[in-house]
Symmetry: C2
Subunit: 190 residues, 2 copies
DNA sequence: TTAGGCATGTAACCCGTTACATGATTTG
DNA sequence: CAAATCATGTAACGGGTTACATGCCTAA
């Protein structure tokens, strides 16, 4: 039962709450998980097929609603719940992050400081957009408190995002300041 | 010239400073880049071969020193420097992070809070170890100031690590506190 | 009517890890 | 001598993205 496939666990987790289609899974990930997870259709659909074969989920031919294209809804089986709870107890694997922005920064003495400043500004802009979304989520959650039994857990993931993104933001500001102090003659090439 | 292969850029960057072997590249990444980058031998050696073919690096048959096994040293070519500077000016691609710990947390109402508390403790321990290394690096750097012309850039990557890991650490403490407050009857299953 | 969102799926490709094989040299 | 470390390499595999193909429905 050694599941390296995290997509599989994501799907199992979502289906623990309610049956969903592949399309809906993707939408949920894109909207609520985007700051710590991502999935593509090219991954989701084949994995769903495999999971059906393995008997951890089953298709609940949930209607051809109003002559629309067939929507394949899936629900979790007891085997699926067992697999999910097993995975939850397994230790978290060491994540292998790769911050392209830090790699560029590390070697950025090959180009003018302005280049790197612009990269960091862009990074800061993108992450500030996400920070605004955090605030929205938080309000949404405090309004619907106790509606979901995983409410505290959701808040905690949010808290993670808020703290880390705040750290990103502060770093961006400081890094830009530091880069501005670098004299052009210290460069290697342009 | 659309390089998606980041390993290639890492190698180019390192070779800008001095010629290196595949083994040395791996050691540098493991020791100094580990908190924001990772590489495996199975990736490095084939990429080096490909880069040689493409003429961005060349092998400088750096001696069979004292009858030892042949060490293949590589140095960068002008084409390699051009490729690297081009990549540095290209925008940073949106990173797709996947925090397994947050995915587990999000769905952790399926198991007892103690399970998740232990995962977070482990996460905190691992990252605190790295935080100690940051302090060591910093001292090392302040001693050798001005020895390398990318000194400020290195310090900035370090600053990033320090800020983000501090955010991790604070979150861990708060999250564990919050999890302790969850009453067992709020769970779904065990 | 056409653009865009809903919905599913596949093929090609790349990226990267793991595991293994090989062999030399150093150190206990 | 055995174990660890230095050093290079390959094969197998899996994970994941991108791009494409298909088709339906709704709203401008």
């Amino acid at each position: 039962m050694k599941t390296k496939n995290k997509t599989r666990n994501l799907i199992l987790g979502l289906l623990c709450e309610s049956p969903l289609s592949g399309y809906e899974i993707k939408k949920i990930v894109d909207s609520r998980f985007s700051f710590f997870w991502s999935e593509s259709f090219g991954q989701i659909y084949p994995v769903l097929e495999k999971m059906k074969e393995d008997g951890v989920i089953l298709e609940t031919e949930s209607a051809n609603t109003s002559g629309r294209r067939k929507i394949r809804k899936y629900e979790i089986t007891p085997e699926g719940i067992a697999e999910m709870t097993f995975w939850l107890t397994e230790p978290v694997e060491k994540e292998t992050v790769r911050y392209e922005i830090l790699l560029k920064l590390f070697f950025s003495n090959l180009v003018s400081p302005e280049v790197m400043i612009e990269h960091i500004r862009e990074f800061q802009r993108n992450h500030r957009k996400q920070q605004l979304l955090f605030d929205g989520f938080e309000k949404e959650l405090t309004n619907t408190i106790h509606l979901h039994n995983n409410h505290p857990q959701v808040l905690m993931t949010l808290l993670f995002g808020q703290k880390v993104y705040k750290a990103y933001d502060e770093w961006c500001t400081e890094a830009i300041d530091l880069l501005r102090k670098i004299k052009p003659e210290q460069e290697c090439a342009t």
